[in-house]
């Protein structure tokens, strides 16, 4: 797209004016005739079992219309994937309500009443008798030989052994304890490393350590981080003609219909989801929120629309948490800084529900990012009585990189190497390999990697050498430090569908199934289709966020998939429509289709041509594939249904992305930070930050910069402030509101940050695009951590966030004073 008019250019997205005028409607902004309000009864205990519930007083209250108990929820349904594979429902997975709460704040029942005050009064009038059960909020405490279990059956997910040749047993909760000997080094602050659940390796680890000039063995903890989405997961539901209409935020309009219909055991055709605007997801609303079934079921029971407004405390309980990871990294370096061997062990903290795979998956990213010659990755995910863990921007990658980056920084200092240079030396390039070998002995690899270019560009932009020269110098009680970090995460998936129709009015009507989180990918990816069609942008009309409209099969807007996956799909649909337009023109005007070009809303060859409006009219006359009456065989059934509904309206572009891709897409970021620490108070300020992206072609620079810096600040919040705190004795949260665990404000970050991009197209995708949502996170987090150790020396911190008091204590005692192994402090 070298001579592009749209791709790579800034523009005003079609949702923006509605947002600035307050007309954009989020879930809680809708109203329905006769709307009731729901309130939840939340568990006051971290683990308990309902012995009895008396709702009689509540139900007798005037204005109370329905009470919903856990026993009234439909049984969990199996999930049949896109490929026809059946994933059996997990009976012990998270549900919307429960009679055996496994964390404090878990919803137990719900009430619908004519107004919220009545509903709240009804909740107060309900008597619940809980049998208290054992609980634990610390994963390492649960792994001790006599440690408590978060569920009656145990503390980890696993599969029972089966006879050879039998299908694997379903996932179930099991007990796993380490030995007392495993905990021998615990009191020295060294993470115990007992039996793991997941283990892989490649290369000769022992030889690597033997040949190393420097071997480091470091323990480090990354805290839990609540998603803190600003729009709580409120939802409005009502039933009309047997169909459920639901207003709720999500990261995928299309795929959330599938999850809602599975939760409620409905035909997907009977679910209409309206989700034009979503106030933040960050992974926590991938395919909606299971709690949205509460207003749906209450609405059915009360025969009236139900609005469930979620409060901030409720949001902090049910909204999701990035799992904390305790990590230990043993790393062997050659004299020149090359990473010869890396032995990584990660203990992931989880809720008592489905396991979030952060600890298990993080090693792959590290293996790609630093290309260790030999590596072993071990991990275990331990259940605790804390709220559900959900994917959060750069899941797994963030924690693993946060555990390894300080080790790289320390090694560079010990070996007398420049921090940028050591990362460049170890950086991946081209089709770099990652992870363990498969059954055939082959290791996977990236489609491309240009992180070395990003480091070079950043070094120049940030004036690294100049700033480095002044780092460590005292100015009164202040001392400055500079830090650099690299980061990576997956950057795109494949195989989704594109769909649009050019109608006789000359306009291109695009159906976007992407969830609108404000990253603007819901719109940006369609610039690719408009570009290929030669369609002026002002003639492109995008529909999104209403599943009663025909929408194509679309990826979840998460894991940095969308920009790559859906621009490929848009490219496929536009290539389909362009070929059809040329065939029509050749048929009407003569010549060969190949001689025609598309530009300015026309298809033309030399002196002859016609408008796309005319092409649309001809397409309707010609029918068949031209107007969507005949469809490609390989479309997803969701797309086929949508395309059938749109057939006969004009020239249809519809296709599945079947473009080849050699390797898996990964994006990269290099982050550069300068901090100033006051050694008398322990307070520090981030003075400056620059992020350089390597994620292929950029579609929309402003949106891209917003992700690069915005996600970078999310990462900084891991270094600066955010964590969860749980009382170990009562199992209750002490971080229920923003003032107890506050995301950075505009004053906590540099006032003038900079971003830049390598902007080299990915060779394995026709649009050249990779996603950028995730890798900025670890770059932001670790650039701060590394700048702090640059300013203060090694051995100041052993867990993040790094708070003022921990800096002050470490400076006073000359060694790190934090306990890196206790959870939730």
């Amino acid at each position: 797209m070298a001579d592009s008019r749209l791709v790579g250019k800034n523009y005003v997205t079609p949702d923006l004016v509605a947002k600035v005028t307050g007309k954009a409607k989020y879930a809680e902004d809708f109203r329905a005739e006769g709307m009731l309000f729901a309130k939840l009864l939340l568990s006051p205990v971290p683990h308990g079992r309902v012995r009895s519930i008396d709702t009689s007083a509540a139900e007798a209250m005037p204005g109370v219309r329905a009470v919903l108990r856990a026993s009234e929820l439909p049984a969990p349904a199996d999930n049949v994937t896109d490929l026809g594979e059946t994933i059996r429902a997990n009976p012990k997975a998270e549900r919307a309500l429960t009679d055996e709460p496994v964390y404090a704040g878990e919803p137990v029942l719900a009430v619908a009443a004519i107004d919220e005050e009545t509903a709240a009064a009804a909740i107060e009038a309900i008597r619940v008798d809980f049998e208290l059960l054992p609980f634990v909020v610390d994963p390492l405490a649960s792994l001790r030989p006599d440690g408590p279990n978060p569920r009656l059956e145990g503390n980890v997910w696993g599969r029972a052994p089966v006879a050879p040749g039998q299908p694997p047993a379903p996932l179930d909760i099991q007990e796993l304890k380490w030995t007392a000997a495993d905990f021998a080094e615990y009191d020295q602050g060294k993470m115990p490393m007992g039996k793991p659940q997941v283990e892989w390796s490649y290369g000769d680890l022992e030889a690597g350590f033997k040949n190393a000039a420097l071997v480091l063995d470091e323990t480090f903890s990354v805290a839990n981080n609540q998603h803190h989405v600003l729009e709580p997961r409120s939802a409005l539901a009502y039933w009309q003609n047997g169909k459920l209409h639901i207003h709720s935020g999500t990261q995928s309009a299309v795929q959330t219909v599938a999850s809602i219909s599975r939760w409620l055991r409905l035909d997907p055709a009977d679910v209409v989801l309206i989700t034009e605007y979503t106030g933040g997801g960050f992974g926590s609303r991938a395919t909606g929120s299971v709690q949205c079934m509460i207003p749906a079921l209450l609405a059915k029971k009360a025969n009236a629309p139900v609005m469930m407004r979620i409060t901030r405390e409720e949001e902090q309980a049910i909204g999701g948490i990035r799992p904390a990871v305790h990590g230990r990294a043993k790393a062997g370096f050659a004299k020149d800084g090359r990473l010869l061997a890396l032995d990584l062990y990660m203990v992931g903290e989880n809720s008592a529900y489905e396991a979030q795979a952060d600890a298990a998956s993080g090693g792959r990213y590290v293996s790609l990012l630093y290309q260790p010659e030999a590596m072993r990755s071990r991990a275990i995910t331990v259940l605790t009585n804390t709220p559900p863990r959900r994917a959060q921007s750069q899941p797994g990658g963030l924690q693993a990189i946060m555990i390894v980056e300080p080790v790289i920084a320390k090694a560079a200092r010990k070996l007398g190497l420049d921090q940028v240079a050591i990362r460049r030396l170890n950086a991946p390039e081209g089709k770099a390999k990652l992870g363990p070998a498969n059954a055939k002995g082959e290791r996977g690899y990236a489609t491309s990697a240009f992180i070395k270019n990003a480091l070079d560009l950043g070094k120049e932009q940030f004036r690294w050498d100049e700033r480095k020269a002044r780092s460590g110098q005292r100015m009164g009680s202040k001392v400055r430090g500079v830090g650099v970090s690299v980061s990576t995460f997956v950057g795109g998936s494949t195989g989704f569908d594109g769909l649009f129709v050019i109608k006789p009015d000359g306009k291109m009507y695009v159906q976007s199934g992407v969830g609108n989180l404000g990253t603007e990918s819901a719109f940006d990816v369609h610039r690719v289709a408009a570009e290929l069609m030669g369609m002026p942008w002002e003639n492109v009309v995008i529909s999104w966020g209403d599943t009663s409209q025909p929408l194509p099969w679309t990826c979840v807007s998460g894991g940095s998939q969308t920009a790559a996956a859906m621009s490929r799909a848009a490219h496929a649909a536009a290539s389909d429509a362009a070929a059809k337009a040329k065939e029509i023109a050749a048929k009407v005007l003569g010549g060969s289709p190949a001689s025609y070009r598309l530009a300015d809303g026309r298809v033309f060859s030399g002196g002859r041509g016609m408008t796309l409006a005319e092409v649309a009219r001809r397409a309707i006359d010609m029918g068949a594939k031209y107007d969507g009456h005949e469809l490609p065989d390989d479309l997803n059934k969701v797309t086929a249904t949508a395309a059938t509904a749109m057939a006969g309206q004009g020239l249809m572009g519809v296709a599945r992305d079947t473009y080849p891709r050699d390797g898996a897409s990964f994006s990269f970021v290099a982050g550069f930070a300068e901090v100033e620490v006051d050694i008398e108070t322990g307070h520090y300020a981030v003075i400056d930050y620059t992020a350089i992206g390597d994620s292929g072609t950029i579609i929309h620079p402003r949106a891209y910069g917003g992700q690069l810096l915005g996600r970078g600040v999310l990462g900084m919040s891991h270094a600066l402030s955010l964590k969860t705190v749980y009382d170990q004795h009562y199992g209750l949260s002490l971080t229920q509101r923003f003032y107890q665990s506050r995301p950075p404000t505009i004053l906590d970050i540099p006032r003038n940050m900079k971003w830049e991009a390598v902007n080299i197209p990915d060779p394995e995708t026709p649009t050249g695009v990779r996603g950028i949502g995730e890798p900025p996170v670890a770059a932001g987090a670790c650039a701060i951590l590394n700048a702090l150790s640059d300013a203060l020396g090694d051995d100041v911190y052993r867990r993040a966030p790094v708070t003022m008091d921990s800096i002050l204590m470490a400076l006073e005692h000359g060694r790190p004073m934090q306990d890196p192994l206790t959870a939730h402090i």
Partner: protein, 214 residues
């Protein structure tokens, strides 16, 4: 045109007109007027209204218009705006003065409407995000700055930031980037898009000065 005609969402038990009720129903994509879903029902339930929860008819000045509305003593301005007056551009992110998403102007001063009782502002001028653009749809310069610079991502915090900025600029029409950051430091953005937001608001400040100069 009477003010009722100009305000199809204005529905009070005392002053609802059939015509406006129907217009209210037609105006919303899913529904309706506020009468059907009052947050705290204005009709006492079988004579069991809790003491202290009796609503009083107030006259408020919102976005330059006089609005008559029944308000309970404990009702916050955010709830009145959102659930009685249909002004849902004002968002509730925390409901406890921590995030700033509900910021509106009260006599030109940015206030967290989640933490202001409606009864306390009945003599004051209230301005919300819906009141910024001109009647002909011309955007306020701060709104234009956001559009031109693609400020914000999910935008749930956006109306609060914009109202805080408009209020700040009334007293500080020519702020530096640093001063402007302080002016909106009571607003949280979890997309953490602060850098782009600040650039957009700075642009809005510059456009505001252009407008002021004529």
């Amino acid at each position: 045109m009477s003010h009722d005609d100009a305000n199809p969402m204005l529905v009070t038990p005392a002053g609802v007109s059939r015509r406006n009720f129907i217009k209210g129903v037609v105006a919303g994509s899913v529904a309706v007027s506020s009468a059907a879903y009052l947050f705290r029902g204005s009709t006492p339930l079988s004579g069991q209204a809790r003491s202290g929860s009796v609503e009083r008819l107030l006259t408020l000045t919102v976005n330059g218009q006089t609005r008559r509305v029944d308000v309970a003593p404990q009702e916050t301005l955010a709830m009145t705006l959102r659930y009685k007056l249909g002004l849902t551009g004002t968002k509730l992110g925390c409901d406890r003065a921590e995030c700033g998403a509900c910021t509106v102007l009260v006599d030109d001063v940015p206030r967290y409407s989640c933490s202001v009782l409606t009864h306390a502002v009945r003599t004051q001028k209230i301005q919300t995000i819906e009141g910024l653009a001109s009647a002909d749809g011309t955007l306020h310069p701060v709104q234009r700055g956001v559009v031109e610079e693609q400020g914000f991502q999910c935008a749930f915090c956006m109306s609060g930031f914009i109202m805080a900025t408009v209020g700040f600029l009334k007293k500080n029409p020519n702020p530096t980037r640093e001063q402007l950051a302080h002016g909106v430091s009571g607003n949280l953005c979890r997309c953490q898009d602060y850098d782009k937001i600040l650039t957009a608001l700075e642009r809005g400040a510059a456009l505001s000065r252009e407008v002021a100069r004529g």
